[in-house]
Amino acid sequence: MSAFHFDSLVWHWPIAIYLFLAGVSAGAMFFAVLLKHACLKDQAYRSGFVQAACIVAPIAVLAGLGILVLDLTKPFEFWKILVFYNPTSVMSIGVVVLMIYQVFMYAWIAITFRKPIEDWCRPRFAFITKLSEKLARYEASVTGLLIIFSVALGAYTGFLLSAQPRFPMLNNPVLPLLFLASGLSSGSAASLLGGVLLNGNPNGKEVHFIHRVEIPLILGEIVLMFTFFAGLILSGGQSKMAAFTAIGEGFWGWVFWFGIMGLGLSAPLAMNLFMTATSKRTFSYVAGTACLSLLGVILLRNFILYTGQMTIS
């Protein structure tokens, strides 16, 4: 059985990239909200990290949807997904979540960047300031719903794969949680990377804050990863077989142990602990750690997608 071509393979890497991008978007928005409310308050729009998150989130979600549409066998009929709904289909529910998520995402961005937007619009389009004033009244609701929908979107990327009985490794209740946790951490990594590239201070309070959240998040991911595979192995039968095919010898075994567990989780965890302990936060440390986290999440999505489809029940 080759690593990328086997009989039972249906969904290829574009789906993994889509799942990754949706996770990045959800995670970036989640951390942008946290940064604003727990750390920066009204000054959020000045922070390079919040700006980065607000740029990354819409681009990632739109790029992900673009990839998803191009991967259809009838790309020009994608609108039918938006017109016809099936309440039992996770994909259909996911489309609803994605659409609502985007509404609140744009609304929240507009509220957060209200000041620069109004400053720019006032001499040109005065009516926009009225709109933003109305929108700002609902800030609490928008923020709350954005958090709910970004968590839902992150979890949806896992539910999409787990909601079928054919592949025992994917049909696993821990998968949505694992994808949610890794999606959030990829979002924080993307915000950090974008933030330092936008001249954010690598030793600023945003970075301190994100690192404080990220360390338990990575530890949580490792626990979830352990639960995921321990659960499969203890279930026996095809589940056990699937787990050993995935993390045993072979190409994907290397990807898992070296790429995901090593570069994607252990290295960023060590770097975060090191930066917290020594208070040395330079551009290269922060950017390097973020790149490793992102690489780890891309690898995880592909690893789960491909190895998950190798063993059937």
């Binding site: 039972s8 066998t73 997904i81 016809f84 709904y85 099936n86 289909s89 489309v95 609490a140 009985p165």
Partner: protein, 226 residues
């Protein structure tokens, strides 16, 4: 601020409650299901099958299935025994028309559906966008993308062809050894009900809860597998 937060919580709770109850509302159709007059199923008698592939050819011709893909195939295992006294096993690989069909559950547009009148699992090719979620979800691996329509395709018991003309499905008509029995499970006088009562049958992957309607009368095993 305090007010809007309370407001927000109230609305969110209402929304969550509404969304979580809605699937039950959809499942409320079980009463109609029990009164359904027709429920088609098929039996493949593997003790009679000779592996001639007449069913496959007939299906291709009747349903205009393009070359390179198929709605139906006969899988051969063997030979068992020693030359010159050998034999093979033939198993039918086609849609099992599950009562609880994973393909129908996952389809985002409702293109995959269970026909209410007949229990046949079928596809609206026009509604299908080709996300291939059904190909991923089907535990029997019988779905494929039709290279002409670009939609997911599968066996529909010739619903649009032979059944419409009051005939048996093409595979059943073509079988030279009467290894295939097609009929209505709800009709107590049908041949399929009589055959099911008289024979020990098996269904594939029942533990997945799919409740398939392809019944197998299996041949002698030929070898011991642990």
């Amino acid at each position: 601020m305090e007010n809007s937060r309370r407001d927000f919580l109230r609305r969110t709770c209402a929304l969550v409650a509404g969304v979580s109850v809605s699937p039950f509302a959809v499942n409320g159709t079980t009463d109609a299901e029990t009164e359904q007059a027709i429920k088609y199923a098929i039996i493949h008698d593997e003790t009679k099958c000779i592996g001639c592939n007449a069913c496959v050819e007939a299906c291709r011709e009747t349903n205009h299935v393009p070359e390179g893909v198929t709605r139906l195939s006969i899988e051969k295992t063997g030979p068992y025994g020693e030359y010159p006294d050998q034999y093979y096993h033939f198993t039918r690989h086609s849609c099992e028309h599950c009562e609880d069909a994973p393909c129908v559950n996952v389809c985002p547009t409702g293109a995959a559906y269970i026909d209410k009148k007949t229990g046949i699992v079928s596809v609206h090719a026009d509604k299908c966008v080709g996300c291939q979620y059904c190909l991923l979800a089907c535990p029997y691996e019988i779905r494929f993308i039709n290279p002409v329509t670009k939609a997911a395709d599968k066996c529909d018991f010739c619903k649009e062809t032979n059944l419409k003309q009051g005939k048996q499905p093409a595979c059943v008509e073509a079988c030279p050894t009467n290894a295939l029995v097609f009929g209505n499970l709800k009709d107590p006088d049908s041949l399929i009900v009589a055959t099911l009562k008289a024979n020990a049958t098996q269904r594939n992957k029942q533990d997945l809860g799919t409740r398939p309607k392809l019944f197998r009368i299996t041949a002698k095993p030929g070898e011991i597998t642990l």
